[in-house]
């Protein structure tokens, strides 16, 4: 079919664009490097000084790509199973909840894997609270889920505020505040090595389960009579999407807009079949976050918090898509 052909081309172009951007991003920074420097790094022939810089940049870029894909695919998953175009890790409160868990663990001086676990547990707990509130508010509009998310995110924000209030202002407070707006500045090989595999597993899981996501957007009785357990499957997807969100939060803090906007960009290009739009969502998420992070670390002397950049990029795109209304919201 002609449509499949077009979708394949879009996907290939997106991947090529991502590869080009990776190379460009490695060239750009406080010390600009040449294309040849970057190539010599990949073929293991770089001089030790450029090698050091490129190793740092490449580690950061890998983290950015994984987080960009992970957050966007988590957003697409939430939007698909809740049948709600406004569902995203941030709006459902999952991101803030995860950051409460992580902040608490940082405050207690726990090791990175405990920070990760704490973020995940709080993320799941937040999702659970949001779903309970939604259950009590429930009517047929998709707005109750969003309302529940806003309520619980507000609660988590207050808890996070309390943690900040009692945090040591010399050391802990700075790191908590900085990471509320998201940044990859502190990502190093060891943090990537501990969180990256979680992101990768989550991404691969959703990638392979993408057709099932389509089925789960049907009403519950239909899903059941297709022989699929709707509750079990939905919860499984929610757990994986929450895991991705909390892993991203552990690595680089809370990043706004990516999980909400990128699935809409992807659907506006290839339609809402997750078999095609979910992989594209992952690649576009990586592209968008890579552009944002490269700007964040290169347009000023200091790193700019990432949510500032993703907001400036994401908001106009989102408004544009909503006006064109090719995808349904709520």
């Amino acid at each position: 079919m002609a449509k499949n052909h077009k979708n394949k081309i879009v996907m290939i172009l997106a991947v090529i664009l991502l590869v080009v951007l990776i190379v460009m991003s490695m060239m750009i920074g406080r010390y600009n490097l040449s294309f040849n420097d970057v190539m010599s790094y990949f073929f293991n022939r770089a001089t030790s000084s450029t090698k050091l810089i490129l190793k740092l940049r490449f580690t950061r870029i890998l983290a950015v790509i994984l987080v960009g894909a992970g957050l966007s695919m988590a957003g697409a998953t939430f939007q698909s199973i809740f049948n709600n175009g406004l569902a995203s890790p941030n709006i459902l409160g999952v991101a803030t909840g995860s950051s409460v868990g992580a902040a608490f663990a940082i405050l207690s001086g726990m090791p990175i894997y405990m920070v990760e676990l704490s973020a995940f547990v709080m993320g799941i707990l937040t999702m659970f609270l949001t779903l309970i509130i939604n259950h009590f508010l429930r009517n047929n509009s998709g707005m109750t889920l969003i309302l529940a998310g806003i309520i619980i995110a507000g609660l988590m924000q207050s808890i996070l505020g309390s943690i900040k209030y009692i945090a040591d202002p010399e050391d802990q407070l700075q790191s908590i505040v900085y990471w509320e707006l998201g940044s990859f500045m502190k990502v190093d090989l060891s943090s990537l090595a501990s969180v990256g595999p979680v992101l990768l597993v989550g991404i691969l899981f959703l990638f392979f389960a993408r057709w099932r996501l389509n089925v789960l957007s049907l009403d519950e009785a239909s899903v059941k009579t297709i022989g699929i357990n709707p509750v079990l499957n939905r919860n499984l997807m929610i757990v994986v999407a929450t895991l991705l969100t909390s892993a991203a939060v552990c690595l680089c803090g809370v990043i706004g807009w990516v999980g909400l906007v990128v699935p809409h960009i992807s659907r506006s290009i290839v339609g809402s079949d997750n078999r095609i739009s979910l992989p594209l969502t992952g690649v576009v998420g990586s592209i968008l976050l890579l552009v944002a992070d490269t700007l964040a670390r290169s347009i000023s002397v200091n790193d700019i918090p990432l949510s500032i950049v993703t907001g400036f990029i994401g908001v106009p795109i989102f408004v544009f898509i909503l006006i064109r209304r090719k995808t349904t919201v709520v």
């Binding site: 022989g227 699929i228 078999r275 995808t327 349904t328």
Partner: protein, 258 residues
């Protein structure tokens, strides 16, 4: 051979009995039409037969096996349900929407294969919507949406197709389209159970008719035995008159307006 039958089937919700004492049976390849007033429990009965409510009392035997003991995966290969009045909000194309029914044959990480796509093409042809394969389901007309739902059930290749008021939200032309499809499916030896409000529709497609009179009384028999003035007047608590139409070669039903 019997496709499905029940013995003293009853179902309670919040300790209130909604249906009771239903002895229903359907033979292979036949059409059973269930009539009954609003709120009498037609949807509940069909949900029980579809395996959606497994806390029923009494027995439901599908191909002589107790329904409770059949896994939902296996059940999805034997029967399919078209729910009542579901407004499809999906922005999937009709083709991809029908393909969802094929998930019944696949695991969590599977992608549809060539045989799945082949089946969808066959069903698109059968429901007469081949030209709309690429259209978004939510943009289809009411009648087409109903056909799309039936199509999604058909790609499961069910022996038994259960449809809850498949014509109730449709205009007259689309009602006839759906009734003709039911006839065609029955000719392909698919057993069908539908519920409806209209005795005329029962006359048009039913081999058997069941009446849900109250929550303790279910009567079933051959269409001609059951669709009588007496039974129908009793069912709807209003005088129903029937007359034989020579052109249509069947009884038609109505009521006096004075």
């Amino acid at each position: 051979m019997s496709e499905i039958y029940t013995e003293k089937l009853s179902f309670a919700y919040d300790s209130q009995e909604i249906i009771g004492n239903v002895d229903l049976s359907l033979d292979d390849g036949q059409v059973l039409v269930i009539l009954g007033p609003n709120g009498i429990g037609k949807s509940t009965l069909l949900s029980c037969l579809s395996g959606l409510h497994k806390t029923y009392r009494g027995a439901i035997k599908l191909e002589d096996r107790e329904l409770k003991n059949i896994s939902s995966r296996e059940l999805s290969h034997r029967l399919a349900l078209v729910s009542q009045g579901v407004n499809i909000k999906s922005s999937l194309s009709l083709y991809d929407y029908l393909l969802l029914g094929r998930s019944a044959f696949h695991g969590l990480f599977a992608q549809p294969d060539a045989s799945d796509q082949q089946k969808v093409v066959e069903v698109l042809d059968l429901i007469g919507l081949k030209d709309f394969a690429e259209a978004s389901v939510q943009d289809l007309s009411g009648g087409q949406k109903q056909l799309a739902q039936i199509g999604r059930a058909l790609v499961q290749e069910p022996h038994l197709l259960i449809m809850d008021e498949p014509t109730s939200a449709l205009d007259y032309k689309n009602q006839i389209l759906v009734l003709k499809l039911i006839k065609a499916l029955s000719d392909k030896n698919i057993s069908i159970i539908i519920s409806t409000h209209d005795p005329n529709q029962a006359m048009m497609v039913g081999d058997m008719v069941g009446l849900l009179i109250d929550n303790q009384t279910y009567i079933q028999g051959q269409t001609e035995e059951i669709l009588t003035e007496d039974y129908l007047s009793d069912l709807y608590k209003t005088p129903i008159v029937s007359t034989f139409n020579t052109e249509l070669q069947r009884n038609i039903f109505g009521t006096r307006m004075d």
